[in-house]
């Protein structure tokens, strides 16, 4: 079908719309109210679980693990000092323990330098010693003695206190809570935060760095919420500013702003009614992108309407002609943007699918609201006389005419444009091929977020670590773990894991913990503290009795490492950082060792978030390729259908490959990893960038159908919509610039990569698109 024919259908629709404008408005109001009913039910979550498409499986594994070993949530205070045995530091540790235990719910006990119960083997039996039972000694020599004693305990050095005495943990055990993590963290974190930040714990001798699952989850939620609210608020201000700047009318500001708010509320409301749970960080992408697109759609219509209104002075007729000019192109850009966003459904990552689906729906709603409200509300008002200044220039402004002149220059240097364009694209290819996949959650969040910075400081310390995994060994018979042979194999496995590249080593000691440490310590204690007995006993009954003694004496730790019936146990391995490829290799090696050492175990293997990240790594690569591939194919098909020609579709695709290569190249050369968030950028930018190509190509085709001359059609298009393309790109870039100032690394990357991609796409549309059309002549022969 010819573009002119399609445009005429839009013209007819516009006339119908104006004739029944009240009915359209009523329909929109009812639609909005229905959607908004769902808004209170909207659930937005924020957590790592949102990234896992197979979260149910992950959760099942986690539940299975927790059903055996219980919850491992603790509240932690990492103490950093020049000397943690300084009396002032010890006193603070003591006070901190008391205050937290007294004021924070679920805290049932504290483990710190000040509350140690250390069993020591003696000739007669053993003695349980609390080195600071009577408080902090005044005599420095006494403190030195205690320091030497604590540092002589294998189970404490580089576990509770670093060998250089600059770091120590204060660990608050939390009772297992039956309510959800969200409910529990809201009770645990605020009072703990108040104590940690109180003046009584401020000193130049030490620093307290809090950590723990419920504590950091609370901080993450608060930090993310603040980011989301502030970015959306800034986004709204930016939107209003650009609307005012570009449209210079109250109606031009109010209508698109109202359309955006209503469209977003309606979309999110209906999604809530359908029981769809969203992601808080990703919501920012949806909202800001919707705002940008809304402004873009509005400007396309307003500019088209104004051009005709300046020329004719006929308000309603100008509205109809405006819809005729841009209605089809806008609808088509909506479809391609939706296709780009919907390609995330092929990605297989939960939050990506949500943002893809919800943004596609929001974009459609934005179009619906804009194309109902703007023409109808623009039709209200008086007609004016044609503006003589614009009649001769067909309604074009000085800026429009400047665009036309720029177009002439581009066409004049078409060969140079082609060579430069393709050279840049080729130069980007090695970079694209060098993109590394690495889903480091800490790197995604970035250290500009205060709590992440703090956690990273702990991670880099001798005592802390951010990532860990567990090696589960589960038998189907009770007491299997008490078998000395099994325990010795666990020792062997721990020793091997200690040699792996990603395993954290503190003070020469690999950070691998399991029940064997407890058994060895107890065996040594029961044998006059003789180091020879720091080993697994050969007698299973002795192992049983050691474990029993430990447990009934109040040693709760044992069930952190073994199941209650002693059929399962695990090794906890702390990592020195996160490098996806290294991790995958390490984990494969561990799996192979587990198979070798525990062939008769019912279940044996690696569990934990790192394992999930490793699985997700491969999934992300496949998912991203699928997303980009899907958006590429779908947009290509749509272009072919829209322009009714394979050749035109192929030509229109080339300027859209350019920004993708540009983004990919910068990521590759700049060492920016492909992760759950950066994976969004390329398909999204392709879906948005194609809009300008469609507007431009569609306009050229329309004019070609009228004049049958490529050069004239291209120059007419530069003049008529060239300025609008710049305006929409500026708005989109401004919206994405808001992300650049986010303290979350991932959002910052979305920001600058999108700005680069969109700017690249605009340049490609101004240069490659017209030159390719001029050279390949896709719409048929010219009239001579």
């Amino acid at each position: 079908m010819k573009t002119a024919q399609i445009n005429e259908r839009f013209e007819s629709f516009a006339r119908f719309q104006l004739k029944h404008r009240k009915a359209f408005l009523i329909f929109l109001i009812v639609f909005t109210v229905l959607g908004c009913i769902g808004l209170p039910r909207l659930k937005l979550t924020n957590g790592e679980e949102d990234w896992f498409d197979n979260w149910e499986q992950v959760q099942m594994n986690q539940d299975h693990f927790e059903s055996i070993f219980g919850s491992t949530d603790t509240l932690l205070a990492f103490i950093k000092a020049d000397d943690v045995f300084d009396p002032e530091v010890l006193d603070a540790i003591d006070r901190l323990g008391d205050e937290i235990v007294a004021n924070v719910p679920y805290v049932e006990g504290v483990s710190s330098l000040m509350s140690l119960s250390i069993p020591i083997g003696t000739e007669e039996g053993f003695e349980v010693i609390n080195p600071f039972e009577d408080g902090v000694p005044e005599d420095p020599e006494e403190i030195e003695k205690v320091r030497d004693f604590i540092l002589s305990r294998e189970s404490l050095v580089n576990v509770l206190v670093s060998d250089d005495c600059t770091e120590t943990w204060v660990i608050f055990d939390l009772e297992q809570y039956s309510e959800s993590l969200t409910e529990a963290m809201n009770k645990i974190a605020p009072p703990a935060m108040e104590i940690f930040n109180s003046d009584s714990f401020k000193s130049d001798k030490y620093r307290i760095l809090p950590a723990g699952l419920s504590y950091t989850e609370y901080e993450e939620e608060a930090s993310t919420y603040e980011q989301v609210v502030s970015r959306i608020a800034i986004g709204f201000i930016v939107m209003i500013f650009f609307l005012a700047f570009f449209t210079r009318s109250v109606k031009g500001v109010v209508v698109p702003a109202v359309a955006t708010v209503f469209a977003l509320c309606t979309t999110l409301g209906f999604s809530a009614l359908m029981g769809i749970e969203g992601n808080m960080i990703m919501l920012m992408v949806t909202v800001l992108l919707s705002m940008a697109l809304s402004v873009g759609y509005a400007i396309h219509f307003i500019n088209a309407f104004k051009m005709h209104f300046r020329r004719t002075g006929e308000r309603k007729e100008s509205v109809v002609l405006g819809v005729k000019d841009c209605g089809w192109a806008l609808l088509f850009t909506v479809i391609t943007t939706m296709a780009g966003m919907l390609s995330f459904l092929a990605g297989g990552i939960k939050s990506m699918r949500w943002v893809g689906g919800i943004t596609a729906a929001a974009v459609f709603c934005i179009y619906l609201y804009t194309m109902v409200l703007l023409p109808i509300l623009s039709s209200y008002g008086k007609n004016t006389k044609p503006d003589g200044k614009y009649v001769s220039s067909q309604g074009s402004t000085a800026a429009d005419l400047r665009m036309e002149r720029a177009g002439k220059k581009v066409l004049k240097h078409s060969t140079l444009v082609m060579i430069a364009g393709f050279a840049i694209m080729l130069a980007m290819i090695p970079g694209v091929l060098g993109i590394k996949v690495n889903m480091d959650y800490s790197d995604m969040m970035g250290e500009r977020t205060p709590y992440i910075k703090r956690l990273m400081e702990i991670t880099r310390s001798k005592l802390g670590s951010q990532y860990s995994y567990d090696v589960l060994i589960e038998y189907d018979e009770e007491d299997a773990i008490k078998d000395p042979e099994v325990l010795n194999k666990m020792e062997e496995l721990a020793a091997r894991i200690g040699t792996l590249s990603m395993t954290k080593v503190s003070g020469g000691k690999p950070r691998v913990s399991s029940v064997t440490t407890i058994i060895k310590e107890m065996n040594r204690t029961l044998n006059e503290d003789n180091l020879e007995y720091y080993a697994i006993p050969d007698d299973q009954d002795l192992v049983s009795q050691i474990l029993f003694l430990y447990e009934i004496s109040g040693g709760d730790n044992v069930y952190q490492y073994v199941s209650e019936d002693f059929s399962a146990a695990y090794l906890h391995v702390e990592l020195n950082g996160y490098d996806a490829e290294e991790c995958v290799q390490n984990l494969d090696q561990v799996e192979a060792w587990v198979d070798e050492l525990f062939p008769d175990a019912e279940t044996a293997g690696v569990v934990g978030e790192v394992m999930q990240y490793a699985i997700m790594n491969g999934k992300l690569v496949r998912g991203s390729l699928r997303s980009i591939g899907t958006s590429f194919i779908v947009i290509f098909i749509l272009l072919v259908i829209a322009f009714g020609s394979l050749k035109t579709g192929a030509i229109a695709m080339i300027p859209n490959i350019a920004p993708i290569l540009l983004i990919g190249g910068i990521m590759g050369y700049g060492g920016i990893s492909l992760d759950m968030v950066t994976a969004l950028i390329m398909p999204m930018i392709m879906g948005i960038a194609v809009d300008d190509t469609i507007h431009f190509t569609n306009h050229i085709k329309y004019h070609f159908e009228l004049c049958r001359n490529y050069r004239t059609s291209i120059l007419n298009s530069y003049r008529e919509i060239g300025k609008t393309m710049t305006m929409t790109t500026i708005i989109l870039c401004a919206m994405f610039t808001i992300f650049i100032f986010s303290t979350i690394n991932a959002l910052c990357r979305i920001g600058y990569l999108s700005v680069i991609g969109l700017a690249g796409a605009l340049i490609a549309d101004y240069t490659l698109t017209p030159v390719l059309i001029l050279i390949t002549k896709p719409f048929g022969k010219e009239d001579k």
Binding site: G125, E127, E175, S178, Q545, I552, S553, G554, E564
Partner: protein
């Protein structure tokens, strides 16, 4: 490691001498005193079954033989595990000393026998772990011991029927406020001054644990609470101690049972 303390089931396995005092004459403190003053036997021998129910519904069962003798200046107690099988024979011998008038107390003496080690080990501990879990159950050592009346203040809240028994409802508030559960509401029988229920409230005033006492029998004139169930309402776990073969002031308990040699020779049956 936490210190092993003598299991004085004083509050719960108390003797009853029925007091005929009318409720209106009693304050919270008086009721607690009456309960605390119930006569106790000099010697006791019981078998106890400990059932520990985890949040996930798993149950562990342990059986022990407990024998004790009050010598006035010291209470000697021996505990030997009989089940599960792989820990059968593990035993403790404990000498506990009463609190002096000035609030000081001599450290208890403890010995441990592990059959697999084939020798007795003396456990020396300078501290007390009153709030530690008793034998891995939901009971604490303090629950099982004899808490000094001077540590709390008492308020009579009224009367309430517990399992068909009319009880005084007494609020016990810790003076130190350092305990995990500083407040308790004890339900003490108006007729027998025995404990029927006790609710433990944590530092934030939330109900933490609930103790239910049942199957109370009189043996040789002494009241014996045979079943004690402690439920942790916050974590969803519970533990039950069931007593059997209870013997008071029996001549079968001779002094030689409370020795290291008796433990090693496996004489505690």
């Amino acid at each position: 490691m936490k210190k092993i303390r003598i299991l004085v089931l004083a509050l719960l396995i108390a003797l009853c001498a029925l007091m005929t005092v009318s409720a209106e004459e009693l304050t919270g403190l008086q009721i607690i005193r009456e309960s605390d003053n119930l006569p106790q036997p000099d010697t006791s021998s019981v078998k106890a079954t400990l059932v520990i129910h985890s949040k996930k519904g798993n149950e562990k069962t342990r059986q022990v033989i407990m024998k004790s003798k009050d010598y006035g200046d010291v209470t000697k107690e021996v505990i030997v595990f009989t089940a599960p099988k792989d820990v059968s024979g593990v035993g403790y011998l404990m000498f506990n000393y009463p609190e002096n008038s000035d609030g000081t107390k001599k450290d208890s003496e403890n010995w441990l026998f592990m059959p697999a080690l084939k020798k007795v080990k003396r456990i020396a501990s300078s501290g007390t772990e009153a709030e530690g879990n008793f034998m891995g159950t939901d009971f604490t050592y303090e629950d099982m011991g004899d808490r000094a009346i001077s540590k709390d203040t008492y308020t009579l809240l009224g009367e309430e029927v517990v399992n068909g028994v009319n009880c005084y409802k007494v609020k016990c508030e810790s003076i130190a406020r350092t305990e995990k559960d500083p407040d308790r509401i004890a339900y003490i029988g108006t007729e027998d001054f025995l404990l029927y229920r006790c609710e433990f409230y944590d530092r934030h005033g939330s109900l933490h644990r609930v103790l239910e006492c049942s199957d109370i029998e009189y043996i040789d004139g002494y009241a014996c609470t045979k079943v004690m169930k402690m439920e942790n309402v916050q974590s969803g776990t519970w533990s039950k101690i069931t007593l059997s073969d209870v013997q008071y002031n029996t001549s079968a308990i001779d002094d030689s049972l409370f020795t290291v040699a008796a433990l090693e020779q496996g004489r505690i049956r």
